[in-house]
C-alpha cells in the first residue's frame, strides 16, 4: 500500500540546515500495523506528515496505493487525504468550539456527505467508541481518554484505508492508553492499515512490525507478527 524509496526532507532555517529524513526507504502492506520508534528529533513526525500528505518530500519517491504522490500539489494532496487517511495525535487536536458530535462530523462535511447520512454515521461511530452519551459536550468537558476516543472516532469516520497515529497514548494514563490501543487494534483487525509513532515499547507490542529510526534513517526492523 505504501512504498517509500530514498525519501528526503530538509528544514532550512537562517543558520542551520537540518536533515529530518535521510534517504529513508520501507514498505507497508495493506492491513499492516506498523510502529515507528526512535529518539526525539529523529524525524518520526516529519515522516508521518509526508505519509499523511500534509507535507511534500524534498527528494525520493512515495507511492501510495500505486500512485506516485511525491510532487503532488497542495490541492491534489488534500483531495487524496480527506478520502483515504485518518489522523490521531498525541494532543487530540479537537476543535474546542465544536461539540463531540460536531468534531466527529467535520470530515464528513468536508467530503460532502448529506446531513441525514452524517447524523447516522456519526452516531454509529460514537456508539462504537462508547462516547455517545457525551455527544453534546465540548472537548474541555471530557477526560483525556474520552477526548482521544473522540479523536479516533473522527479519524475513522470517513472509513480511511490508512490511519496515522502520532504518539496517541502520549498524554494518557496506562488505563486510557490501553483502551486507545485496543481501539486501534480493533480497527486494524477490521482491515485498516495503521502506522503509529510511539515512545512506548509497551504500545509498540500491539503492532506487527517495529521500524526503529535514528537521524532520519531506518536502523532496524523487528517483525513481531508475519502477515500475508
Amino acid at each position: 500500500m505504501i512504498k517509500i524509496t530514498d525519501l528526503e526532507k530538509y528544514y532550512a532555517t537562517e543558520e542551520v540546515r537540518t536533515i529530518a529524513l535521510n534517504k529513508l526507504s520501507f514498505n507497508v502492506k495493506k492491513g499492516e500495523f506498523v510502529a515507528v520508534m526512535g529518539p526525539s528529533g529523529c524525524g518520526k513526525s516529519t515522516l508521518l506528515n509526508i505519509l499523511g500528505l500534509l507535507d511534500d518530500p524534498d527528494g525520493g519517491s512515495f507511492v501510495f496505493n500505486g500512485i506516485e504522490v511525491a510532487g503532488f500539489n497542495e490541492r491534489k494532496r488534500a483531495e487524496l487525504r480527506k478520502h483515504n487517511i485518518g489522523f490521531v495525535f498525541q494532543s487530540f487536536n479537537l476543535i474546542d468550539e465544536l461539540t463531540v458530535f460536531e468534531n466527529v462530523e467535520l470530515p464528513l462535511i468536508y467530503t460532502g456527505v448529506k446531513p441525514a447520512e452524517r447524523k447516522e454515521r456519526v452516531e454509529a461511530v460514537l456508539e462504537k467508541m462508547q462516547i455517545m452519551h457525551r455527544r453534546k459536550h465540548f472537548p474541555q468537558q471530557l477526560s483525556g481518554g474520552q477526548q482521544q476516543r473522540v479523536a479516533v472516532a473522527r479519524a475513522v469516520i470517513n472509513n480511511p484505508k490508512l490511519i496515522l497515529a502520532d504518539e496517541p497514548t502520549g498524554n494518557l494514563d496506562s488505563t486510557n492508553g490501553n483502551e486507545v490501543m485496543d481501539l486501534l487494534t480493533e480497527l486494524n483487525e477490521a482491515g485498516t492499515t495503521i502506522i503509529m509513532v510511539t515512545h512506548s515499547e509497551h504500545d509498540a507490542k500491539y503492532s506487527h512490525r517495529i521500524i526503529r529510526m535514528l537521524d532520519g534513517q531506518k536502523v532496524t526492523e523487528n517483525i513481531l507478527m508475519e502477515i500475508s
Binding site: A78, I95, L106
Partner: protein, 375 residues
C-alpha cells in the same frame, strides 16, 4: 457548511466576550462617527441640488477699501441694475425684516418671512405644490408658504386663498405653497412675501437708502453675459449713486454656489475638518479591523491546522474568518446606524440646525452615503 461556520464564529465570539464587546464597541463608535461626518459633508455638497441651472445665478459681493467683504449692498442698487442691463433675465432681493407673528384660526406662529420680488421664481426655479409660479407674488398682499410652514399652520389642508394675519396688522392671502425644499439648501425659507409690502414699512424706508448696505441680491443673467464688463457697469452705477462711493473697492458677481461659504465662512472649516476627521477615524477603524483579524488568526492557528488536516480547503478557512469578522462588522454597522439615527444625527442637528437648517436622513435620498460607507 455556512451554518457550521456561523455556529463556530458565534461560539468563538461568545467565548471571548470581553474582546468581542470591545471590538464591537470600537467598531460601532468608529463607523458611527465616520457615518456622521461623511453625512454632514455629503449634506453640504448636495446643498442646493434643488436649484436648477445654477450656473447663471449670481449674487453681489462688496469689498470695501479696508479689505472687508460682505454679501450685502444698498437696497436700491438692484433696481438700478435691472433697469439698465439687458443681461439680467430676472433679479430679486431676499430680504428678511424681523420675525413676525403669523396668525391663523386663533393660533400664532413665529416664522421667518423673507421679502422678494415677484421675479424670485424666475431666478430660482423652486417647484410649487400649489399656485402658479408666474403670478404667485404679483399681488401685494400675497404670501407663499414653504411646505413645512403650511403643514404647521394648516395641517394637511390646501391653504390656497386662506388669510393669514401678520403682526395683527396685515392680512395676507396664501397664493402658493412650495414643494418641500431640500433640508440642506442654502435657503432657510419660511414664508415669502412681496417687497412691495416691505416698502410700506417706515422703519424699512428709513434704511433703504444708498448709504446702508444690508440687502442680499440675486440675479439670473443671460448665459452670454460678459461678467467683467457687467461688473464694471455695476461699479459705474455704484459710483453714480452711492452716498459714499469712495469706500467701495469692488462689487463682484459671485456664482450662487459660493453663497453658503460666503455667508457662513466657518462652514468651510467645519467641512474640511469633518473630512479630515472622517479619514482619520476611518484609518483607526481599519487598523482596528486588521488588528482584530490578526488576533483571531493567532487564536485560531490550531483550529486552522486541524481543519486543514481533516480536508478543509483554504477557501473554507478564509470563509470562516470572514464570517467571524463579518458578524462583528455587520453588527457594528447595525449598532452604528442606530447610534447615528438615534443620537448623532439629532445632536448634529442641535449643533448645526440653527445655522444650516435641519438635516434629515431618508434612505431614498441619501443612499450614496451608505454605499460609500460600505465601500
Amino acid at each position: 457548511m455556512i451554518r457550521n461556520h456561523i455556529k463556530i464564529s458565534l461560539r468563538n465570539l461568545w467565548k471571548n466576550k470581553l474582546l468581542s464587546t470591545l471590538n464591537l464597541l470600537g467598531l460601532s463608535i468608529g463607523i458611527g462617527s465616520v457615518l456622521t461626518l461623511m453625512f454632514s459633508v455629503y449634506a453640504y455638497y448636495n446643498a442646493d441640488s434643488n436649484v436648477v441651472d445654477q450656473a447663471n445665478i449670481y449674487y453681489l459681493k462688496t469689498t470695501n477699501i479696508s479689505g472687508d467683504s460682505y454679501v450685502d449692498t444698498p437696497y436700491p442698487l438692484l433696481k438700478e441694475i435691472s433697469e439698465s442691463s439687458p443681461e439680467v433675465v430676472a433679479a430679486t432681493h431676499l430680504q428678511g425684516w424681523g420675525m413676525p407673528w403669523l396668525e391663523y384660526g386663533g393660533s400664532d406662529f413665529h416664522e421667518r418671512v423673507d421679502y422678494v420680488e415677484p421675479d424670485f421664481f424666475n431666478v430660482f426655479s423652486l417647484p410649487l405644490k400649489y399656485g402658479n409660479r408666474e403670478t404667485v407674488l404679483e399681488k401685494k398682499n400675497s404670501v407663499v408658504l414653504t411646505d413645512k410652514v403650511s403643514r404647521k399652520i394648516f395641517g394637511e389642508k390646501n391653504p390656497m386663498g386662506e388669510i393669514i394675519k401678520v403682526d395683527d396688522t396685515l392680512s395676507l392671502t396664501v397664493t402658493g405653497v412650495l414643494e418641500p425644499i431640500s433640508p440642506y439648501s442654502t435657503f432657510r425659507l419660511g414664508a415669502l412675501a412681496s417687497t412691495q409690502l416691505l416698502e410700506d414699512y417706515p422703519s424699512f424706508i428709513a434704511r433703504a437708502n444708498w448709504a446702508d448696505s444690508f440687502t442680499v441680491n440675486y440675479l439670473r443673467l443671460n448665459p452670454t453675459t460678459n461678467i467683467a464688463q457687467f461688473e464694471s457697469h455695476i461699479k459705474e452705477l455704484a459710483k453714480k449713486n452711492y452716498a459714499d462711493p469712495n469706500i467701495i473697492a469692488s462689487i463682484k458677481l459671485m456664482p450662487f454656489a459660493d453663497m453658503r461659504t460666503d455667508s457662513i465662512p466657518v462652514v468651510k472649516t467645519i467641512i474640511s475638518g469633518s473630512i479630515a476627521a472622517a479619514v482619520f477615524v476611518l484609518l483607526i477603524v481599519l487598523i482596528n479591523l486588521l488588528n482584530l483579524n490578526a488576533s483571531t488568526m493567532y487564536r485560531r492557528t490550531k483550529d486552522i491546522a486541524v481543519r486543514k488536516i481533516l480536508g478543509s480547503s483554504k477557501k473554507e478557512i478564509i470563509t470562516q474568518f470572514c464570517i467571524e469578522n463579518g458578524i462583528l462588522v455587520f453588527t457594528s454597522i447595525l449598532i452604528s446606524a442606530l447610534l447615528f439615527l438615534g443620537l448623532l444625527l439629532p445632536k448634529l442637528n442641535m449643533i448645526y440646525g440653527a445655522d444650516f437648517g435641519e438635516i434629515t436622513f431618508t434612505v431614498a435620498n441619501d443612499y450614496p452615503v451608505i454605499l460609500f460607507a460600505m465601500a
